[in-house]
Symmetry: C2
Subunit: 235 residues, 2 copies
């Protein structure tokens, strides 16, 4: 079945940048690499693309391997192919970024991989060109979140407006006026107010909201400004 016989074949890997939000800070999940080269150094979760799986399948497999999660938000980011990025043998890496509800992540599962969550501002030194991958992912999540409601993927099914606002403030690293924020967000028609409150986060308690999934899917591609002055915040 090999008919392009004169061509060189290359190793192909998938690396995942996995985002999570702990209610205060945007974080990514890293593992301690279990094999050489760079054994025991911090690294993205990744793996080689297998002969019978597509890239998307590989990314989902790799994500599941570490988190046991399926059906989460996963998007292809960029493909990195410098000839010397892996010193052992040329490997081209297709990166994906994932947005998961950090509460669904079982800490226990990460033991095999010695995984840990790191705040985006304190990411340790990573192997190969993975620093660059994380930078690209950071840029992309901001870019996309400035106009599309992807950040809900980081929250549990029920969340409060203060939680949502903290998330946006954390991703864009800027304070937002809460009156304008709630006006803006509620105006999208994406949220349904619940009758119960989250009593844990504050004395007074804050009403829960849920996504209106119908509107969410319908409007996902539309441009929506969730934050003031996106221009100045993206770089």
């Amino acid at each position: 079945m090999q008919k392009y016989s004169k061509q060189t074949r290359l190793l192909l890997a998938v690396d995942c940048i996995i985002f999570g939000f702990d209610g205060d800070t945007l974080k990514i999940l890293l593992i301690k690499r279990s094999f050489e080269p760079q054994k025991d150094n911090w690294s993205l979760m990744g793996g080689f693309v297998q002969p019978k799986e597509s890239l998307d399948q590989a990314a989902n497999r790799i994500l599941k391997q570490l988190t046991e999660l399926q059906g989460v938000y996963l998007e292809q980011l960029h493909t990195f192919g410098n000839t010397k990025r892996d010193p052992i043998e040329r490997t081209v890496s297709v990166t994906y970024f994932a947005l998961i509800d950090i509460n669904k992540y079982q800490t226990q599962l990460s033991k095999d991989y010695h995984a840990e969550w790191f705040p985006l501002k304190r990411v340790p030194k990573l192997i190969f060109d993975q620093q660059e991958m994380v930078e690209a992912a950071k840029k992309r999540i901001r870019y996309k979140a400035a106009m599309h409601p992807i950040l809900f993927e980081l929250l549990p099914g029920k969340f409060t407006l203060p939680q949502l606002q903290t998330l946006y403030e954390s991703v864009f690293n800027t304070p937002i006026d809460k009156r304008n924020f709630s006006k803006r967000v509620l105006a999208t028609g994406l949220l349904i107010k619940q009758n119960d409150k989250d009593k844990a986060g504050s004395k007074r308690g804050a009403y829960y909201y849920q996504l209106n999934m119908q509107n969410y899917y319908a409007k996902f591609q539309a441009f929506m400004n969730f934050i003031p002055n996106p221009d100045s915040l993206l770089h």
Copy 2:
């Protein structure tokens, strides 16, 4: 040097979606495939990634092979990796899209490849999953052009406002009010009015403009609305 010895290696290709604007219609450049499978069918310009070149280098090489052009706008689009996309042997394809000034393209060069420009609305049947690649490129160029001034890459160094407007109308397939368009575009500070006019396009003649390159590079990443109601036009 092969130490990941148990892993399968794959063919990796680069395919280019090359956009050009003839003053009236947005087009892409296609070639007649010169080898089996699907010999003589319409196809994107592409090629295999060579052992000693990066992906960007491969894309530039392939673009130059067909157009003799260098230093043009070239951006990685998406990587396609379904296992069966190439029936002969699994090949993963990294796609790039290019924006070129169609006037700089030497028709003669295309003879070897039997290349032809096709209006985006009348793209012929393409091999493998290239239809999908073109769709992705179309979507991306619109998405990006709605907010960043990339379409200037399709025009010659000197151009008129009516030409620019026709380009936007063609890309977004919508009529635009010219008073509002010129206000919008000139407000960006990206254009420098020249003293001479293009007499070819009309009786009265239209003033030429040139890009203010300093502002262009400085503001490239900023969000700028060039078209009314981008929402409704992107899908």
